[in-house]
């Protein structure tokens, strides 16, 4: 009996003590987040390689530069725009990361704020072409490009023994059931359709030649990946032997020991940038959000992101071009100019209609 009582009192008192500790703990954490709200930031990133790269490189660099914590939220570009639209007054993250397709169609005035270039000391180091995600002629700067992708032909040298030289090689009847392409929802997929159209006499505003060519490509298609990440998986699984893809994504596969080569077709490689933006009413405050993007543009972060195993081409001209990027893409920043920069302002006018048409054209 006595023992029991003791146990009860012990349990009771420890319960009270536990509650008190929990209470104290929550109080202190409350006061922490309350008094120093500008000590943490939530940044959107792409799932997969980008998330890993940002977690290992950008977040620690940001913490070192500002002393603030950053939390990553992995989301596809379109999902970021959808969430910002749904709650512009109380955004779920402070900075967004987009590429041209979603960027052009996003209601930028409603969800982003103009980029405060004066708050970013590394901004002046960025090549002028990439200082504005909307292009050098855009009237408002909603944020800079922080890295580049270059699209070319990826192929498995074990199956495709002669190196492809043109986009037209995808139509080679020998590659029946071996070709993969990315859905037109993605920037990679839309960009590719535009290049195919140009190759067949079309343009950024006329995709009819590309749709005609697509019909002829159908017997060769192994599958249409729902996004570029899924296209990488298809190459990795040996599901696809030849596909249009980004150099960055292919270099990642090569590092994992997968049989894959990447070449620029004679029609040229189209380049597109990944951009970062400060949302409206950021919980972290504009200053901290600007500091995060500034860190992404810094020489240190740009150089680390450009190296193995991420291979995201830098835009900061103080970063030396090395390795795969120097070998396949450009030995100097002047050579960036030889790539094709598509007219996304024109493309965006027709894109919704094309995406629907594409879905119907490829549907099994």
């Amino acid at each position: 009996m006595n023992y029991r009582m003791k146990r009860r009192t012990f349990l009771g008192s420890s319960f009270v003590a536990g509650m008190a500790l929990t209470g104290l703990g929550s109080c202190s954490s409350n006061s922490q987040s309350g008094s120093a709200q500008a000590d943490s930031l939530v940044a959107a990133t792409y799932p997969g390689n980008w998330e890993e790269a940002h977690r290992k490189i950008l977040v620690p660099a940001f913490q070192k530069a500002t002393g603030a914590e950053a939390t990553l939220t992995p989301l596809l570009a379109l999902d970021q725009v959808a969430r910002l639209e749904a709650s512009a007054n109380n955004p779920p993250f402070d900075t967004a990361i987009l590429d041209p397709g979603p960027y052009i169609t996003a209601p930028k005035e409603d969800i982003f704020q103009p980029f405060p270039a004066d708050m970013a000391k590394n901004f002046s180091e960025v090549l002028p072409r990439y200082q504005n995600a909307g292009g050098p002629e855009a009237s408002e700067n909603w944020g800079p490009i922080i890295g580049l992708q270059f699209a070319g032909i990826a192929y498995n040298p074990k199956i495709i023994t002669t190196s492809p030289t043109s986009w037209a090689d995808l139509w080679n009847p020998a590659y029946k059931g071996q070709v993969g392409i990315a859905n037109m929802d993605s920037t990679l997929g839309t960009g590719w359709m535009v290049e195919i159209s140009k190759m067949n006499g079309g343009s950024e505003s006329n995709l009819d030649p590309a749709f005609e060519a697509l019909q002829e490509l159908l017997p060769n298609l192994a599958g249409v990946a729902s996004n570029p990440g899924a296209l990488s998986t298809m190459i990795q699984q040996g599901e696809v032997a030849i596909a249009p893809h980004n150099i960055g994504s292919i270099a990642v596969l090569q590092d994992k020991g997968i049989d894959v080569e990447w070449v620029i077709p004679k029609e040229g490689s189209y380049a597109f940038g990944t951009s970062m933006h400060i949302v409206q009413n950021p919980v972290s405050g504009t200053e901290l959000a600007a500091a995060y993007i500034d860190t992404a543009l810094s020489q240190e972060v740009q150089a680390a992101m450009a190296a193995a195993p991420y291979y995201i081409a830098p835009v900061n001209q103080s970063v030396p071009l090395e390795g795969v990027l120097a070998e396949k893409i450009a030995a100097s920043y002047d050579e960036y100019e030889k790539f094709i920069y598509q007219d996304w302002a024109t493309i965006s006018k027709y894109r919704p209609e094309w995406i629907e048409r594409f879905s119907k054209a490829v549907s099994a």
């Binding site: 379109l78 959808a82 990315a182 599958g223 990946a225 729902s226 998986t233 919704p352 879905s359």
Partner: protein, 289 residues
């Protein structure tokens, strides 16, 4: 704060009915389910630009044969997966019901196992299994049953296979619940009256487990036709189902009213199936009692 003014004595006499106990949940559902649903339905009657009332979104949906194909393909997928889950799930549930207590522990774990991994991981597992150099193809080629790998990934069949595995536990659990409610004396009585094992099963056990079959079918059908991750990864860009169409219209093309209309059509399809199955359920319940 005039607590004294409250007619407390009168209140005390009022019995707390079961309905009142459900009030917190009702409030929660109204706030987070009914109101968003009304907003969604209202959005589906809006034109693509500006305000007003129009049936244009529904007209657009039903006049385009591509959309009708998406609708029928989704319904077909739901039906196939439900039937496959029933065929594979019933024997498992029956075996579980007959098993000893020790086996039941092991079986519970095995049945629940698929629910313990995330849908994304399971789906990527299926990509590896269904691929050209995947498990199924290597096995069939190795056994010499086929010369060339067959295409399973990015096909409707592949999606249906993966979905069947993913939703199978729900069917099994529903049927187990129903089987365990059957009075074991009924089977004994049937046997003592000369009914064989098969006859007892067909005339006693199966009809009495119908409520579980129906609720399992309802769950599997509703979850299959509204799945997004598995159909989009295993189906790829060439197979479009209702949830992928909603995503494309709403998130990619920012055509919210049309996406809302597609959602409403999907909802109506599920409601019709729910209605038909629950009518059937009502009848079988009478039979059970």
């Amino acid at each position: 704060m005039s607590v004294a003014n409250l007619p407390t004595p009168k209140r005390k006499k009022l019995p707390l009915t079961q309905g009142q106990l459900a009030l917190p949940l009702a409030a929660f559902l109204t706030l987070f389910y009914v109101i968003p649903m009304v907003v969604l339905l209202a959005a589906s009657f809006q034109p693509a630009r500006g305000g007003g009332f129009t049936l244009a979104q529904y007209a657009e949906f039903f006049t385009d044969s591509a959309n009708i194909r998406v609708l029928t393909l989704t319904f077909w997928l739901g039906l196939q997966v439900t039937i496959a889950c029933l065929i594979f799930g019933y024997p498992v549930a029956y075996f579980y019901h007959q098993a000893t207590a020790r086996w039941k522990t092991i079986l519970t774990f095995l049945i629940l196992l698929p629910l313990l991994t995330s849908a994304v991981v399971r789906t990527f597992g299926w990509v590896v299994i269904l691929g050209r150099q995947g498990l199924i193809n290597s096995l069939l080629v190795g056994l010499g049953m086929i010369d060339e790998p067959i295409k399973l990934l990015f096909t409707h069949l592949g999606v249906a296979m993966a979905m069947t595995q993913i939703w199978l536990p729900l069917m099994v659990l529903s049927i187990i619940a129903s089987l365990s409610q059957i009075d074991p004396r009924l089977a004994a009585a049937s046997e003592s009256l000369g009914g064989g094992k098969w006859r007892t099963f067909w005339q006693i056990t199966l009809p009495l487990s119908l409520p579980g079959i129906i609720s399992g079918c309802l769950l599997v059908f509703a979850l299959t036709v509204s799945s997004f991750v598995t159909p989009s990864i295993i189906g790829g860009g060439q197979l479009m189902y209702m949830p992928t169409l909603i995503y494309q219209q709403g998130v990619v093309l920012l055509n919210k009213p049309f996406a809302a209309a597609v959602s409403a059509v999907l909802l109506i399809m599920v409601l019709i199936v729910v209605f038909l199955l629950s009518t059937l359920g009502q009848r079988t319940r009478k039979y059970v009692q």
